[in-house]
């Protein structure tokens, strides 16, 4: 029990590594704030393009979405990070991470928004058009708001996954929370920093998990 405390919950070490982990947490938040809006925008773009119902365009979109959903995100990240130098493109670390996550995240968000769009009866778009709204106006003020509401639990669930995904950036040594925790662990020969990082992730993400459970049970109660 005592070793457990000194190795996993060592207060001295916690005090020492706290600022370093907070720095990492800052990077995790910044990365999330870049990747989530990009992914949402990309996904919405995919859904809007596929609502145009052009046959060849839909094929291209499905190939894109299936392709990037088939790859584990870490594979995309490693491929971009280690593969691009062979193309003689020098991509900064943050950009490589953001690009890898964008390809993955936009496909997932794309599928979610597409399901949302499909949940809105076609008649709504036709009715909106007949009042004189342009296609774009009808999309923005009639279809998108309702579609978003219908798939809100899925959107939040995927957002949670994206925040968890940012921990993969530690593999290419981007100084986010997990990366800093592992460095601190190596320097102190103690597991406390990693445990502390886990607690920080828990604190950050637990409210989202709770919210999700509520939304999901609510949506089932409506059936």
């Amino acid at each position: 029990m005592e070793t457990l405390l000194t190795v996993f919950f060592n207060v001295e070490i916690m005090k020492k590594v706290w600022p370093f982990l907070l720095q990492g947490l800052g990077m995790t938040v910044v990365l999330s704030l870049v990747v989530i809006p990009l992914g949402l925008a990309g996904g919405l773009g995919i859904a809007i393009l596929s609502s145009l119902q052009r046959r060849w365009l839909n094929r291209v979109l499905i190939v894109y979405v299936d392709f990037f959903r088939a790859f584990p995100p870490l594979v995309l990240l490693i491929f971009i990070y280690f593969g691009f130098p062979f193309l003689q493109i020098d991509l900064p670390k943050f950009a490589a991470v953001a690009l890898g996550f964008f390809l993955n995240t936009s496909s997932y968000f794309g599928e979610i928004f597409r399901a949302g769009f499909e949940s809105i009866p076609r008649g709504q778009l036709e009715a909106a058009r007949s009042t004189g709204l342009t296609r774009w106006q009808a999309l923005v003020s009639v279809v998108i708001p309702q579609a978003t509401r219908n798939v809100l639990p899925d959107l939040i669930s995927n957002t949670l996954e994206v925040i968890k995904l940012t921990s993969l950036a530690s593999v290419v040594a981007l100084p986010e929370l997990l990366n800093n925790a592992r460095q601190a662990q190596a320097l102190t020969y103690n597991a406390t920093p990693v445990v502390l990082a886990a607690l920080m992730y828990l604190l950050l993400l637990w409210p989202i998990v709770r919210l999700l459970s509520r939304l999901e049970h609510k949506s089932i109660a409506l059936h």
């Binding site: 584990p72 594979v75 062979f86 003689q88 662990q185 998990v209 049970h217």
Partner: protein
């Protein structure tokens, strides 16, 4: 830690590209190792799916017994393992547990953490399915003289599981792709083998072979998910 790029300097751009990404010599040298990685990834994936689903279902069934302290524990378990990034769990199991004399292999650490995560998500999904079966069905089955467990087994679960197929398929796929995380603790699965082959040879071909291996493994999964979604779609 930028990778070493091993390309003869006199080549033209197209030749350099072909040499680095589609190099038959390099592919020939490493395909066997990558094939072994493929077997490890597949085996890891299968064990994770089985363990995660079985534990998840067991927890959901236990939760349906409505024992308050037990349910509290199940909810805490499900919340914690849905909130923590899988990579964090792998790293704690592999790098932190040896400090308390509980060292485990890279395979065990990856299998255990992904199974725990899948169990947590599966429990929530199965539980949502159980709740979605109308209360009247419970009461009707009980009034015929069935016990709680019999009702669950013969009446509620068959309907609940059917409803959970689409969300479960998506979740299983997302978590199975997490097998690539094993590369971080040097498990010799596809990603680990192909990226170390790539840095050993100074050539990107092994990465491309690895990527193809992932496509072979997961594209059928993606298609299966699409098919399931049209077959079983949740009624919104």
């Amino acid at each position: 830690m930028n990778p070493v790029v091993n390309v003869p300097p006199t080549m033209s751009t197209l030749d350099r590209f072909l040499f680095s990404f589609f190099n038959p010599d390099i592919a020939g040298r490493y395909w066997k190792a990558i094939a072994e990685g493929f077997v490890t990834t597949t085996w890891l994936g299968v064990t994770v799916i089985i363990t995660g689903l079985v534990v998840g279902l067991a927890l959901a069934v236990a939760r349906a017994q409505h024992v308050k302290p037990l349910n509290f524990c199940i909810i805490v378990f499900a919340d914690v393992f849905r909130a923590l990034p899988p990579l964090v769990i792998i790293i704690i199991l592999f790098f932190a547990f040896p400090y308390i004399e509980m060292a485990m292999s890279a395979f065990t650490a990856t299998w255990l953490s992904l199974s725990l995560v899948l169990a947590a998500f599966a429990e929530e999904i199965f539980w949502a399915g159980i709740l979605a079966v109308p209360k009247g069905q419970w009461e009707a089955a009980r009034s015929t003289g069935m016990s709680r467990l019999e009702t669950l087994q013969h009446v509620v679960l068959p309907q609940a599981v059917r409803m959970t197929v689409p969300p479960l398929t998506n979740r299983v796929m997302a978590i199975t792709k997490g097998t690539a995380l094993g590369s971080v603790v040097a498990l010799h699965e596809i990603l680990n083998v192909s990226s170390s082959a790539s840095s050993e040879s100074g050539n990107a071909t092994p990465l491309l072979v690895g990527a193809c291996a992932y496509l072979i493994l997961f594209i059928p999964f993606v298609w299966f998910g699409r098919w399931i979604e049209t077959r079983f779609a949740w009624k919104r």
